[in-house]
Symmetry: C2
Subunit: 118 residues, 2 copies
């Protein structure tokens, strides 16, 4: 099962998966994915962070390739500190960005130092 | 919004979208997506079909690139008849295939005549 790149998973299984940094700090959990309608690429994983019952919660879109699945932790690992995460692009539930806006995508990719997905 | 390939959408918005054939027959609706953990590609859209309240429902995984979004219909269009769909690989909810099994992926791609995603 780990032998090839054929490691497929249902999107709804990804949602809810915990996210940690390499130091083991719990950063949040995956709330949703953002995909390209035409190219079928997973662009971002949206991590939810903080809040209680959805109140005060923040959503951090992260480029998919910044996440690595760690079977031991049973979650994804992202190489960033909590401070770095605080400064990353994020939004409140009521203020969801326009995913079709390339400028927002550029902000995310610039922050994480990953190539823009356009 | 339609001007570039930067047409991103949340995965959870794709789920529930109706699927039609070019003749306008309603085929089913998107239940989930199957993505590659490493390459971040959307491999299959799982379409649910038939049944009532989840009973008797069948799940048809279709290669993502067989689906075209039609804004007029407000859903995806797949170029196949209902008969072709009946013969396509599918499973009952209780018998979900192992998505990590390349042989199952090959069956799907062979049926739809799309390149294997390995």
């Amino acid at each position: 099962m780990e032998s090839s790149s054929f490691e497929n998973i249902r999107a709804s299984r990804v949602e809810g998966t915990e996210v940690y940094n390499p130091q083991g700090d719990h950063l949040g959990q995956i709330d949703d994915l953002v995909i390209g309608k035409r190219d079928g690429e997973v662009k971002y994983a949206i991590m939810s962070f903080g809040g209680f019952l959805g109140i005060g919660e923040e959503y951090h879109p992260m480029p998919w390739n910044t996440l690595t699945y760690d079977p031991e932790k049973g979650g994804y690992v992202v190489n960033m500190s909590k401070d770095q995460l605080q400064d990353a692009p994020h939004y409140a539930r009521q203020k969801e960005p326009d995913w079709a806006d390339p400028a927002y995508g550029k902000r995310i990719n610039d922050y994480y130092g990953t190539p823009p997905f356009v």
